[in-house]
Amino acid sequence: MIQHTLGEFEELVLLMVAALHDEAYGVIILEGLEEKLKKKINISAVHVALKRLSDKGFLKSRYGGITTDRGGRRKKYYSITALGKKMLDNQYSLRTSIYKQIPKISFG
C-alpha cells in the first residue's frame, strides 16, 4: 500500500475541513484559513489541495443544492473520511510525542 503523506498546506486544509464539519466547501475553507493564518490565500491553491486530498482518500465530497447564488452552480461540500481522521491523529500524536521530548532544561 502506498503510504500517503501530507504537505503542510494540505494538512491545514484537512484540519479546516474537519473543523468545519460537513459545512466545508471551497470559499468557506479559504475564508477560514485566511482568518486563522492572517494572510491572503489563493483559491486555486485550496482547490488543488482539496483535489489531492480527495485523490489520497482523506476527503469525500457531495454536491449541495442549486441556489440562485454562485451563478446557479452547486456547492461541493467536503467532509473528512476515517482515513483522513486517522492521518490527522497520527500527525498530532507524532508531533506531540516529539514535542514532549523537548528537555525543559534547554530554556532555563
Binding site: H47, V48, Y63, D69, G71, R73, R74
Partner: protein, 861 residues
Amino acid sequence: MKAYPPKNAVKFLRWFCREDCVEEIEGDLTEIFENEYGRSIRKANRKFVLRVIKYFRPEFIKSFRSNHQSNHQAMFRHNFLLTYRNFLRYKSSFLINLVGLSTGLACTFLIYLWVSDELTVDKFMEKDHRLFRAMEHRVRATGIWTSPTTPGPLAEALVGDRPEVEYAITATWPQLYTLSLNDKIITATGRFAGKDFFKMFSYELIAGDANQVLADKNSVVISDVLARKLFNTIENVVGKSIDYQHESQLMISGIFRSMPVNASDQFEFVGSFEKYKEGQDWLLSWGNTGTQTLVLLKPGTNVDEFNAKIADYIKVKTKNEITYRTLFLKGYAENYLYGKYENGAQVGGRITYVKLFSVIAIFILLIACINFMNLSTARASRRVKEVGIKKAIGAARKALVFQYLSESMLMSFLSLFVAMLLVYISLSQFNVITGKHLVFELDRNRIFLFLGVTVFTGLVAGSYPALYLSGFNPATVLKGKLNSSFSELMARKGLVVFQFAISILFIVSVLVVYKQIEFVQSSNLGYNKNNLIYFNLDGALSNVKTQETMIEEMKKIPGIESVSSTNHNMTGHNGGTSGVEWPGKNTEDRTEFERMTVNYDLIETLGMQMGQGRSFSRAFGTDSSAIIFNQKGIDFMGLTDPIGKVVKLWGQDRHIIGVVKDFHYESLHENFKPVFLILEPNNTYRIMARIAVGKEKETISSVERLYKKLNPGFSFEYNFLDTVYQSQYENEQRVAVLSKYFAGLAILISCLGLFGLAAFTAERRLKEIGIRKVLGSSELGIVYLLSGDFTKIVFVAILIALPISYIVARYWLEDFAFKVQLQVWYFMAAGILAMMIAWLTVGVQAIRAARVNPTQCLKNE
C-alpha cells in the same frame, strides 16, 4: 443588481477545465467574485480573470484526447455492417447498382485509355514544342485549300534566311519500297529526309551518330526490326550494303529503335534526301510541291510571330510570280488531332472524336450514378425509421451523411474492382474496334485517376441520398408520415427523363451513322469499285515497254475482264494543276483540276459512264493531244457543247473528245471537283484490272506469276480497290461500332434503373393493388395503372431527346458532301424503341404486381 463574472473568462474556464471540477471551481470563483463585486467592480473583474488563469494547470485541464478515435472506428464498423446487411437484404438493388456502376466505370476507363492514347500521339519527341511542319494555304476559286506539301527548295532557303530556324529539312512521306540483301527480298516502309533528321526527331539511335548518319548520299538508317529481318541481328550491321529497288546500293550508317505505336509516321528506314532528289528536277522549283518541310525552331521563338514573317515567303522567293500561297508552320504533333482545315481555318479533326467520346464517357457514368441516386432515394422510405431512431437518440446529421456516403463509397469501390475486371477482359476487343494498341497498365497517374473517378462517382451517386435521407424530421418520420414532396418526385422523374433522353440520343446516333455508312457503301460512285485490283508499277515495270507487255499479257489471262493503267488511286486527291486554260478563264483563278493520266481502256476498266463524246481509243491516232473532262469540269469552265472545243493544258492545245459523268475519286466527305483525263501511258504508276467474279484467287496468282517474270526481285503487292475505299471511312466505321456499344450500354443501364424503380413502386403500392383487386379491378387495369406513370416519363424524354438528336445528327452529317436524308422514321424508330424497352422493363414488374393474391398482401397489419 446582479453581478456577472466576465463572460470570456468563464467560457475559457469551461473550455479547458475538467468536467468533474468545473462546477465547483466556477461556483467558488463566482461566489468570491460576488463578494468582491460590492467593493470594486473593476478589481473584481480583474481578479476573476487572474484566478481563472491560475487554474490553467495540469490538474484542472481536461484531456483533449477524447475517445473520438475509437468512436469513429466503431461508427465505421457499424456503417460497414449496415451497408453489408442492406446489400444482402435488397439483393436486386445491389445487383442493379453494381452492374450499372461497374459498366459505367469500365466504359469511362476504356474511353480514358483511348483518349489519353490519342492525346499522346507524337508527343514523345524531346523537342516536341519546337518541332513544326511547314504548310500552305492556297487560294482557289472555291475557297482556301490547306496543304501539308511544300516546295523542295523551302527547307534550305529557310535555314539561310531566317535566324530563328535551327534546322529545316525536306522529307518524303513514308511509302513502300523494295529492299534486298542477296536473295532476301523485303518490302519495307521508308522515307527520305534531310541530313539533320535525327537531330530534330528523337528517334533513338542504337548505332550511328545523329550528326553523321544521313550525311552521305547513299547512306540509309534502318530500324532494329528491319535489321533483324534482313540480317537476323542488329550487331555489326552498320557499314553493310543493301540493294534498294534493285537499282542501287545503300550503305547502312545507323540503326534506330522502332518508333512507339503512338507515332503518326511509321517507317522502317530513312534514306538521304539527296538520293531521292536525283533526277527529280521538279523538286528544284518553287512552283511544285509534293514533299514536306520539317522545321526545328530555336528555343524561345514565338511561332505566331515567325508565321507572320514567313506568310509571303513564297511570293518573295518567286519574285511575285506565285502570289496565292501563304506559308505557315504548324506544331508537328498537333497535326494528328487538329489536322482538318476548312477555308483556311482550323476546324477540328480527330480532336472532334476525342471530345465526343469524352462527353459520352461522362454521360454514361452520369446515367449509372443516377441509377444509384434514384434507387437509394426511392428506397429511403424503407429506411426512414432507421434514420428517425438514429436522430432521436442523438445522431448528428453529419454522422448520417457520413453513413450514406460511406455506403455509396463502398458500392463504388466494389464497382471499381468489377470495372477493372471488365476493362481487362474487353480491352483486346476494344483495341480491335478502335485500331489501337492500348495496354492496361497501372502507373501512378492512372491509379490516382481511377481512384479519383471512383471517389467522385461515389460522392455524386451518394450525395443526393445522403443529403435527402439525413434531412428528415425525426418526429414526423417516426409517426409514420413521409410526405414525398412534389419537388422531390419531380427530381426523381427528372433524372429518369435525363437517362432516357440520352439513351434515345444514342439510338438515333447509331441509326444515322449506320444509315450513312450504308449509303456510302451503296451509293453509285460513278464507277464500279468491285472486283478491281491494282498494283504499282515498280522496278522494271516503270519502263513503258515492259508495262505494255504486262498489260498485253494480262489481257490473255482468262479471269481478267479488262486492264489498264493510270496515275490515280481513285481514293483521294492525288495531284492537280491550275495549268488548264480555256476561253473566258479568269486569269486570277487558281482552281486546280485533278489530273488523271491514263492508258487506253481505263474508263472502260473502271466502268465510268461517258456523258458525251467518246473515250480514248486506239482507232484515232490523235488521242495523245486529246483531253476528257468530267461534267463538273465542263460546268466549271462554262463550256456549252464542249466536244471538239480546244483548251490549253500547260500552254499546249488539247481538244476535248469526251465528257465523263461525275465520279467520286475522293471520299464522300468531298464534293465533286473538276477532273481531266489525258492519255499518257508513260506517266502512269499503277495497273488497274477488273477480275471476273468468282475467279479472284486463280486470276491473282496468274497475275503474280506474270509479275514475277517481268519484274524479278520485286514482291507483288496488290490491293482491292473496294477495300481501300472502305478504309477511307475507317473513322466512321469505328464511330458506328463504338456508338452501337455505348448506346447498348446506356440503354442497359437506364433500363436497370427503370426496372429497379418499377419494382420498388409496385412493392410500395402492394396494399393499394390488393384493395383495388378486392374491389374488382382487373389485372390489365392494374398493369395500366402501374406503367402509366413511366410511360409519361419516357414520353417526356422522347420529346426532349428528339430535337437534340436531330441537331446532333445534322451536325455530324455536315461533314459529308453526300449524305443520307434524315428521315422522320429514324426518330420515330428511336422513340418507339425506347418506349418499347421501357414498357417491357416496367411491364414485367407491373404484371407480377398485378397477379398478386389480394389476401396475401392485405392479410397482415
